[in-house]
């Protein structure tokens, strides 16, 4: 019995880790209160899905890089004949006889600014991809979750609202800003789970308030060729077109 107790004690490196026994004072295993550091403001940890998005970012960078040669005016570039000597001349390392092309004439060309961007964009995206990959490998090594499935479900959920926004954009010219905003406001309130009468009414009045603030008071332009308003008597139609 004593032998077993000794053996079990051996598996603990420190005294604090020994199991609680009768007669001993109780020791909490809660971690100590962490000291708050101002550095926490800059804390960043890569989330799940980071690697996949880093791949997409690198893909976008490559896409722009591939089309740089054809879509930025590079085809019609005007560069000095002996580019090597010209570059050396810019830094005072070589001398060129005769008339020298002004550096400003090169800088004015349409491909220069995209090239400057890509000079940062491509290496930064590849560097980020490398770091993200390293992080994922580290996570795999310590058996931490790496699947991006959860994030994907969130993106799909967001796409649902993107679709509502696009539908709203297409419906406004047909039903008018007032009607479509009220419908969207009430529908989104309902869709987001606020389904009591109180919340639906809150959605209704909030949408109405927005229309009154922006269309009626600030007179901000919204689509005007509205089928619904055309069905109204002319006086009502004119009023609705002016204020809603």
């Amino acid at each position: 019995m004593v032998k077993t107790a000794v053996a079990s004690k051996e598996i603990y490196l420190f005294e604090d880790g020994l199991p609680f026994e009768a007669g001993q004072s109780f020791q909490s295993e809660c971690p100590r209160d962490k000291k708050v550091k101002a550095q926490n403001l800059f804390k960043f940890s890569r989330k799940r899905g980071d690697f996949q998005i880093s791949v997409v970012a690198a893909g976008i960078a490559m896409f722009f890089f591939m089309f740089f040669w054809t879509k930025t005016g590079w085809d019609g570039r005007k560069l000095p004949d002996e580019l090597g000597s010209y570059v050396a001349y810019q830094f005072g390392l070589a001398d060129i006889d005769g008339r020298v092309t002004r550096f400003g004439r090169i800088l004015k060309q349409s491909w220069v600014a995209p090239m400057l961007c890509l000079f940062v964009f491509v290496p930064a995206s590849l560097w980020n991809l490398r770091n993200s990959w390293k992080e994922m490998e580290w996570r795999k090594r310590f058996l931490l979750p790496t699947s991006a499935y959860f994030e994907l479900t969130k993106y799909v959920a967001a796409l649902e609202y993107v679709a509502y926004f696009i539908i709203y954009t297409l419906v406004v010219p047909i039903l008018g800003y007032l009607v479509s905003t009220i419908i969207l406001g009430m529908f989104l309130t309902w869709r987001l789970g606020y389904r009591s009468r109180r919340w639906i009414l809150t959605g209704f009045f909030s949408s109405l308030g927005l229309v009154i603030a922006f269309r009626t008071m600030l007179q901000i332009k919204t689509p005007l060729s509205i089928w619904l308003y055309d069905q109204l008597p002319s006086a009502a139609r004119a009023f609705m077109l002016t204020y809603f």
Binding site: V36, L107, F165, G203
Partner: protein, 498 residues
């Protein structure tokens, strides 16, 4: 003095005063609602400013910018949720004080520290305008196209350097924003860049469409997809004036934090977080009770709130003096300048000194108005904290539509705004910073514009840096890049050794 009086006179117009009132009270409420924040509010308001007078628009946006951080302290202290991202540090000490039953004291400290920080940087700016104003008028002659170009490049480099742990991502997104600004038909030579024969892309992306998408619509999606918080109810008992006495007792910490806020605000690309980092660290080293920092220290609260409120006025300085915005909110204000046809830059000291006095005096008025509002209506504003996030998200989305559509009555703009919104949503979920995209867009446009305009004076590459200002700025750029490389190597070595 004459410019100052003219500036005050233009502030006294009823429309400007109304804009100050709406901007400051609106910003206060927006700041108090977790999930909105000044960037989203300004993004939504931007299209409306097209229809308003320049000064009215700027004062409205300044009101939101200058007051939101006051409002942001309320949920940070009461429910441990920062109203705006810069109030994150306030939660450490503010919420701990609330748990001790000192919510009113914490709020009072936050208000008085914010007020001191805000007024400090404004007064410094006004004094600088009075004292150096006559000399600053000659500044325009010192700054040519190449100098502004170099200042914009420095802004970009500092922005990337300020994202300490995400420099690669910040560089990537900055370049992405820069590239977006380049899409469209080049005006001088009529060459299409990355338009792929899509007619909409010929005129390029409208800056406001991208800003509304990246900031407002992305957050709307983020809120709607997320869950509603169920914040605990906090009670505010007691007066809100005691904080003024306490900040007098901690004057060294208060003044040093205000100085950090002012200095960091002036440096483009740095902003509130770095200011808070330095002021909080300094306050802890100056304090007699450093162990209490993060556990309800009133000095910690003073340090974070003073420094973050000193930034807005200071951040206007590089925008106005160089025409280079230092962070997202001033970048958005730049859009108002673009629309109004005003080019902020060194010439402004000669051409529109009264405009500068108007802006800074308006900021001072905003601070006073906000403090008065808070002292009388904190309990009412605190109720805004409990509006459900998802419900807010829905209405941010509806608001964004009218904002985007009103710019040029284009439904295609709305579709592109939601595409940028989705991109912003994905980046938000990954905790990738959004500010570099907007600054890439704005600074990118400045870089291209100045490069084209100054090309005539550039015979060789050396001409880019052979002027006193551009040469100095180039040296600073090299130093910053050198510092970035040195710290990266140092960090890697430390990591390897540990």
């Amino acid at each position: 003095m004459e410019a100052f009086l003219t500036g005050i006179d233009s502030l006294m117009q009823p429309a400007v005063l109304l804009a100050i009132l709406i901007g400051s009270v609106g910003g206060l409420i927006i700041g108090a609602i977790p999930g909105i924040g000044p960037a989203i509010a300004i993004a939504i308001l931007l299209p409306a400013t097209v229809f308003l007078d320049d000064l009215v628009s700027l004062v409205l946006l300044l009101g939101v910018y200058g007051s939101s951080m006051y409002g942001g302290a309320i949920p940070a202290i009461l429910i441990n949720t920062p109203g705006t991202p810069v109030n994150a540090l306030t939660t450490y000490d503010g919420y701990a004080m609330t748990r001790r039953g000192e919510a009113a004291r914490a709020l009072s400290l936050a208000y008085s520290a914010s007020f001191f920080g805000g007024c400090f940087s404004i007064i410094i700016a006004l004094i600088a305008l009075f004292v150096f104003g006559p000399y600053l008028r000659d500044l325009g002659a010192l700054f040519g196209q190449r100098d502004i170009l170099m200042a914009a490049v420095l802004g970009g480099v500092l922005l990337i350097a300020a994202h300490r742990q995400t420099m690669g991502i910040a560089a990537l997104l900055f370049a992405f924003g820069f590239l977006i600004s380049m899409i469209g038909r080049q005006s001088t030579r009529q060459i299409d860049r990355y338009t792929f024969d899509i007619q909409y892309l010929y005129s390029g992306f409208n800056l406001i469409v991208v800003i509304v998408g990246i900031f407002a619509l992305s957050q709307a999606l983020n809120l709607m997809v997320g869950k509603d918080d169920d914040p605990p109810e906090a009670r505010i008992t007691g007066g809100l004036l005691s904080g003024f006495r306490e900040i007098v007792g901690s004057k060294v910490i208060t003044i040093s934090s205000a100085c950090y806020g002012t200095i960091m605000g002036i440096i483009p690309g740095v902003g509130e977080f770095v200011a808070q980092f330095f002021s909080y660290s300094t306050a802890r080293s100056l304090s007699k009770e450093p162990a209490r920092f993060g556990h309800g220290s009133h000095e910690g609260l003073i340090a974070s709130e003073t420094s973050n409120n000193a930034v807005p006025a200071a951040a206007m300085i590089p925008l106005l003096a160089l025409g280079v915005p230092g962070e997202a909110l001033t970048a958005m204000m730049m859009v108002v300048f673009f629309d109004a046809g005003i080019k902020p830059g060194p010439d402004i000291f000669e051409n529109n000194p009264d405009f500068l006095f108007s802006l800074f005096t308006a900021l001072l008025l905003i601070n006073i108005l906000v403090l008065a509002t808070l002292l009388f209506s904190t309990r009412l504003i605190a109720k805004m904290v409990y509006i459900p996030n998802r419900f807010l998200g829905a209405f941010i989305m509806i608001l964004s539509f009218v904002g985007v559509y009103s710019i040029r009555n284009s439904l295609t703009d709305c579709i592109f705004a939601i595409i940028f919104g989705f991109i912003g949503f994905v980046l938000r979920r990954l905790d990738w910073p959004l500010v570099p995209i907007v600054l890439g867009l704005v600074l990118g446009s400045i870089i291209v514009e100045r490069l084209t305009a100054g090309a005539g004076q550039i015979k060789s590459a050396v001409d880019l840096i052979n002027r006193p200002v551009s040469g100095t700025l180039f040296m600073v750029i090299l130093l910053v890049i050198g510092f970035i490389i040195w710290t990266s190597f140092k960090n890697r070595r430390t990591e390897y050794q540990s």
